[in-house]
Subunit: 326 residues, 2 copies
């Protein structure tokens, strides 16, 4: 099958009607064409998804297709942007119809859910690797940027933390868990839910935001560095049934610590919001049925991240967030 036929068979889908004002042209030319209108801006993110780096060789093609897009939609979510379109660059060692069928099904299962339209990209022979560029719409000046955290802001985290890292550790044979526990956590690892509705709901109220891809402490540090502020984090607030799933609660304290503080790949949102919006944040949590837990406060000590226990004692930690080159 030739490149053109692969695109026609698996990837060329009609543009959703409600996005047509923004998408002037999709697949099929040298370029795709987008436009924004008054007081809008285009949020743009690009993430690679590479075999044996971002996913195991035995990961199902369906999960690869899903997650390659999910990690990008998660960046749009962190920005508070509404998904619009994406580009797909797919490098394949060979043309395998079954693989392409399942990959495209996983990809479009998520794309359709968010009406995110594939508008172009590239296909080539090469090592298995996927690069996706996702586009979202923001009202001007409403984006949730890392640099916008303010003194006194509450720091929140969404959902439950650590399941993805638990699955990774178990798949690498570093911890032992039950088959049921592994299956459940593996689903979190392979099919993370990008917090798109949450990001958009938060965007008028929150200040700074980031999605948890590399680990809680490392990602929080990105907000602190960009905003030139510090944070005090209530250590114990991170280890309650509010922030941990039943699976992570069963781990030893040391394993919990690893999965929660350094557990990447959860794709929950970490965000800051002024205290005056406390009730609004609680309402959003209730409306969307997503736990939002206050875990700390922004303080006036640039770049300093301090964990306190219930007794007010400092808890020591190592930043062990994921690094590609270290």
């Amino acid at each position: 099958m030739k490149e053109f036929d692969i695109i026609q068979k698996y990837f060329n889908k009609p543009i959703s009607t409600k996005h047509q004002p923004f998408i002037n042209l999709g697949i099929g030319d040298d370029c795709a064409y987008l436009q924004t209108y008054e007081s809008q801006e285009l949020a743009i993110t690009q993430d690679m998804f590479i075999e044996n780096v971002h996913f195991f060789s035995n990961t199902s093609p369906h999960a690869i297709g899903y997650k390659a897009l999910a990690v990008n939609l998660s960046d749009l979510a962190a920005a508070g942007a509404k998904p619009l379109a994406f580009l797909l660059s797919l490098s394949l060692p060979e043309v395998n119809d079954l693989w392409l069928e399942q990959f495209s099904q996983g990809l479009f299962a998520l794309a359709n859910q968010f009406e995110c339209n594939l508008i172009g990209g590239d296909t080539s022979r090469g090592p298995l690797s996927i690069t996706i560029t996702a586009f979202g719409l923001n009202k001007n000046k409403n984006a949730l940027l890392r640099k916008n955290a303010c003194l006194g802001d509450d720091i929140y985290v969404s959902g439950h933390l650590g399941n993805a890292r638990l699955a990774l550790e178990a798949l690498l044979g570093k911890i032992t868990v039950s088959v049921e526990c592994l299956e459940k956590c593996k689903r979190h690892l392979e099919y993370p839910i990008p917090r798109v509705a949450l990001g958009q709901a938060l965007s008028p109220f929150a200040h700074a935001s980031i999605d948890l891809s590399d680990g809680l402490l490392g990602d929080l540090q990105h907000i602190l560095n960009a905003s030139k502020v510090g944070a005090q984090v209530y250590y114990d607030s991170l280890f309650t049934p509010l922030t941990l799933s039943a699976e992570v609660l069963q781990l030893s304290p040391q394993e919990q610590r690893l999965c929660v503080l350094s557990g990447g790949d959860d794709y929950e949102l970490l965000f800051t919001a002024p205290r005056k919006h406390q009730a609004t944040i609680a309402k959003i949590s209730q409306d969307l049925q997503i736990p939002l837990t206050a875990i700390g406060t922004i303080i006036d000590e640039p770049n300093s991240l301090i964990l306190y226990d219930l007794q007010g004692h400092q808890v020591s930690y190592q930043d062990v967030s994921y690094q590609h080159f270290s």
Copy 2:
């Protein structure tokens, strides 16, 4: 060196002042932010550049950086768009300072020439591969699309054809040429000049356009298919000093045929324009000092591509344009 440090050291450059109205945020957050204004649209293209597929392992990092961007700017040129910004996703087997230094120099040599700003992307460990997404600005409805060729249009090609394929054949040991000839053609292969100024100059006058990346006949066929028209091509017009460099003119007729009809990687523009703009096209050619040669006419026979010699006889050919999977 960590990912963040690589970006800071080699890739984080200030945004050019004249582009600031369109670039609301560049490198450093979950997303970059662009916006367009009234009667503008954003042309978007994405191309992969993979070791041992798109370039040889012994290609200099400077040339890799240059060409990875050049092939994307060439797509913007074909669209008639003005380069604005780009995203870089770089997958590297290891961190090598000398490599990164030279790669980034090659990349920014071209980026600076066109004031095209790096606004984001991704970095990861993995097989050597570069994916670039380039953004350009077009006036609304002024883009040179493949589907816009009209009956009676003249078909033009820019520059000289075949040098890149000559270099490729020589590097693969399939043809023998002098060292000087190889050096000159290798430069065309490794440092193609994206026809950005030409594309913009043509955009008010030309109808359809494509950049020559896979081969003249294959790329012309893309225009014919998209426009639902046919073409008659004056075979001999392709083999004169107007369309061939001194190097290609020295080849045997059979080698010339291969390099010109199927020679990809030249990144010249193939475009169609109505006869009434003949003088304007000649003026653009003169102003930009780029040869623009009329090589055929658009006819009313959908998808048919016929080559005629000077005696009006049909010349047979095989479409041997480059295919990643065949």
